[in-house]
Symmetry: C2
Subunit: 218 residues, 2 copies
């Protein structure tokens, strides 16, 4: 069976373990974005007094100037970046081209769930040594959207209810998962969670999505 690359894979026609997000690769843009993530992290850690940050600011501004000089108008880029993508390469959770994204890589399971493992560092910190509660909410919101697509549903979040069970640690592998739970007409209910590798439940979420019939998949 061949897949139209513009159409997301679904559990009904794809094997267990199918990668559902864009894998970071070795293209120049992915390498530049990975390097930008290192800069973001290192800026929070470096010695404020002895790292010659005046010079670093100048160098980063020069790089930004260069990139902006080669950028099309924003309206044009916005159209272009949504063309030909079954999965996004630019979103702030899984996007290899977005330095805000850790990035999280999600795979689909035969039971209809999706799952990924991610370790978060200092830029994602809330309480000392722990993940910001809003970061957890963001990871889970996005994961549920991918879970819905894996079950053949699309559409926007209407409600997101997040429960914090224990502080979520930085620097260790976190297992982020989600699944569609039920559907009633256009209302799709989904649930997800973040656990440590030891199985400790840190954050859980349930959410309501309003399904858009996916006309292309009929």
């Amino acid at each position: 069976m061949t897949h139209d690359p513009k159409v997301r894979p679904m559990v009904s026609d794809s094997p267990d373990g199918t990668v559902l997000t864009s894998m970071p690769g070795h293209t120049p843009v992915d390498r530049a974005t990975a390097a930008a993530r290192r800069v973001v992290d290192a800026l929070l850690r470096t010695d404020r007094a002895n790292a010659n940050l005046d010079r670093v600011a100048e160098e980063l501004d020069n790089i930004a100037d260069h990139l902006e000089q080669h950028a099309p108008a924003v309206a044009e880029r916005l159209v272009d970046m949504w063309h030909g993508e079954g999965v996004t390469r630019h979103d702030p959770v899984t996007g290899p081209e977005n330095a805000l994204a850790p990035p999280l890589v999600l795979s689909g399971r035969a039971d209809g769930s999706v799952e990924g493992v991610v370790s978060l560092t200092i830029p994602y910190q809330g309480p000392p040594g722990h993940v910001h509660g809003g970061v957890s909410a963001q990871l889970l919101d996005h994961t549920l959207g991918v879970a819905n697509a894996w079950s053949g549903r699309t559409g926007a979040t209407a409600q997101l209810n997040v429960r914090y069970h224990r502080p979520t640690p930085l620097f260790v592998p976190l297992i982020v998962s989600g699944r569609m739970v039920s559907q009633d007409g256009r209302k799709v209910c989904s649930a997800g969670e973040i656990r440590t590798a030891e199985g400790d439940l840190c954050v859980s979420v349930d959410a309501l999505f309003i399904d858009k019939p996916a006309l292309r998949r009929r």
Copy 2:
């Protein structure tokens, strides 16, 4: 009345309009972080074929190497970054030293609410041309924490319930606000919202926090 800089200002002893987050300044670290934000944004917009991204990747890796060579051990930095700060300079929502943060600047009002205005760009995109739902959740979670502190409460989020009323546009001023609503023992209820400058309600939130008695404020 003089303030201990380690103690956050509170509505009971501070004027309307008191800035409650760290204002981005002209220090080298703040300028370097602002430049890093420009790089993150421009990487998503620049011409993938003609911006010499191999060279950009190399330059950014060199900057990251330099910053890391001047960084103390992570454990040491983690202790240091929480010393002497009444407000954080490094969190992923308001932190001037965190390139993930837009950053949002929040001020306290005499009525007990807090408010800030922010415009978001392509790194924060979810649906085409609109803010990622998880980004809105993150901004509101953090805003409620600041609102609670302005009302003299501290403590971690236990539940965060987000409602999405309409898509939140990129590139326009968004008004983010929050307030403590009620307290019952250690349970603190808070609410917030994101509106456009025209007053259209995009996202609302209510949340439950578990108060930690702030011993230093006795």
